[in-house]
Symmetry: C2
Subunit: 207 residues, 2 copies
DNA sequence: TAGATTGTTAATCGATTAACAATC
DNA sequence: TAGATTGTTAATCGATTAACAATC
C-alpha cells in the first residue's frame, strides 16, 4: 500500500464541486475562490481547499482557481472526461424517465442498453438515443459483450437484488439503484442509492 | 437548550432502518437483532444499537427487537405515522414519473398539488391521484391555503432556486430537490438532493 | 440455568476547522 | 509593494467501534 487512500466522503463531494464549476462557467466566470464556492455550496472554504489539495495544487495564492482548469481537472479525477456506457434495467415509468433524461450525456454517461422482463416492452425504442428494450435474460451477455461497467437499476424492489447479482457477475462495478431496498454486492462493486422516500423521511423528523 | 441534539447523520439512517423493517415484516418475520439488521444493511450492529438507543429502549436483552414494534416507533420518531401533503413543481418527464410513483403513499407522503409554468400542461390530470396541474404562479397561495410544508422540485436547474425561494417564503420547511444544482434556503428549511449524475460520478473515480 | 443480545461506556478512529506561512 | 488567497499543519470536534455489565 503506497498511497494513503482518499476518504470516500471526500470523493463524494467532488461531483458537487464539478457541478458548481459547470454553473460558474455557464455564467461566464473565469476565476473563483474557495470562499465563493463554499458560500454557494454551504461548505467551509477550508474544506474545499483541503479536498482539492489531495489531488494537486490547482489554485494560485492571492488569485483563486481558474474555473475551466479546475473543471477539467475534476473531470479527469472523477474519470468523466470520457463516456461510460450504462445498462439500465427496468423500462417502467421510472426507467422511461431515466432513459429520457437529457442530463447524463454531458456528464459522462450514455444509456446504451435497456432491459425489462415484460414481454410487452421488449423491442420498444426508449430514451433520447432510441435504444431498443431487450429481455433481461440478455443482460449478462450484453454486459460482457460490450464491456459495460456501469448499471442503473429501476426495477421493483423485489427484483433489484437479483438484477444486481447478475450485473456484478457479468462485470459491472458501479450500480445506481433506484429500487427502495438495500442491496448486497460483492467487494469491488460500488452502489449508490436513490430513494426519494428516504430523502423525505430524513427531513420530516425536524418538522 | 435542554436536550443534546441528535446528530443529523444518525437521523439520516433511521429511514433506512425503517425500510429494512418493512421488508422483514413483509417476509413474515417477528423478531430481529441488531446483528441481523447490520448484516443486511452493511452497518455494524453497535451502530444500530447506538442509533436506536438515542430514542428509547426498544429491544429486549437476549431476544432482540420486535419488528412491528420497532417499525411503529421509527414511524413515530420520523413523523411518518401520518400523511404529509406534498407540493410538486415541474410536470415534465421527471415530474410525471414522480407523480405516478406509487411508493410515496405507504410511506407518509401524498402529492396533492402539482405546478408547472408551461401553459400547455395547466389543467392536465397527473399522477395516481389525478391531481390537476396548476400554474406555478399559484404555488405560494396554494401552499399557504393548504398549510403544505413539504415540497418537491423537479424543474430545470435554472428555475430551481426561484421555486425554492417561493416555497420557503410560503411556509415549506422540507424540500426534495431533483434539479441538478445546489440551492440556498433560509435557516429552518431543509433540503435533500437527488441527482443521479452525482451518484454515478461518486463511483467512476474508483473504476 | 445457560445462552444470547441489548444498552452504554470508554477508546479509537476519522473528519472538520482554525490559523498562518507561503506566495501570487 | 499591499492585498488576497492558497496549501497545509495542528487542534478541535464528532462519529464509530469494541467491549462488557445488565438482563431477558
Amino acid at each position: 500500500m503506497a498511497k494513503r487512500a482518499i476518504p470516500d466522503i471526500m470523493i463524494g463531494r467532488l461531483p458537487v464541486y464539478l457541478r458548481a464549476l459547470s454553473f460558474l462557467a455557464l455564467e461566464g466566470r473565469q476565476i473563483t475562490s474557495s470562499q465563493e464556492m463554499g458560500d454557494r455550496l454551504g461548505i467551509s472554504s477550508a474544506q474545499i481547499r483541503k479536498d482539492l489539495s489531495h489531488f494537486g495544487e490547482f489554485g494560485k495564492q492571492g488569485t483563486g482557481y481558474d474555473i475551466m482548469f479546475l473543471h477539467d481537472k475534476l473531470r479527469q479525477i472523477l474519470k468523466v472526461d470520457r463516456m461510460w456506457d450504462v445498462a439500465l434495467v427496468g423500462a417502467g415509468n421510472l426507467g422511461k424517465a431515466i432513459a429520457d433524461y437529457g442530463g447524463f450525456a454531458g456528464k459522462g454517461f450514455l444509456i446504451t442498453a435497456v432491459f425489462d422482463n415484460d414481454a410487452a416492452k421488449i423491442g420498444m425504442k426508449m430514451g433520447i438515443h432510441d435504444v431498443t428494450v431487450q429481455h433481461v435474460d440478455e443482460l449478462a451477455d450484453t454486459i460482457k459483450a460490450r464491456g459495460i461497467v456501469v448499471g442503473i437499476i429501476a426495477t421493483p424492489a423485489h427484483d433489484a437484488q437479483g438484477v444486481a447479482r447478475v450485473m456484478a457477475e457479468a462485470g459491472v462495478k458501479a450500480i445506481l439503484n433506484y429500487a427502495p431496498i438495500t442491496i448486497t454486492v460483492p467487494i469491488g462493486v460500488r452502489m449508490q442509492y436513490i430513494d426519494p422516500v428516504v430523502g423525505l423521511q430524513r427531513m420530516t423528523y425536524y418538522l
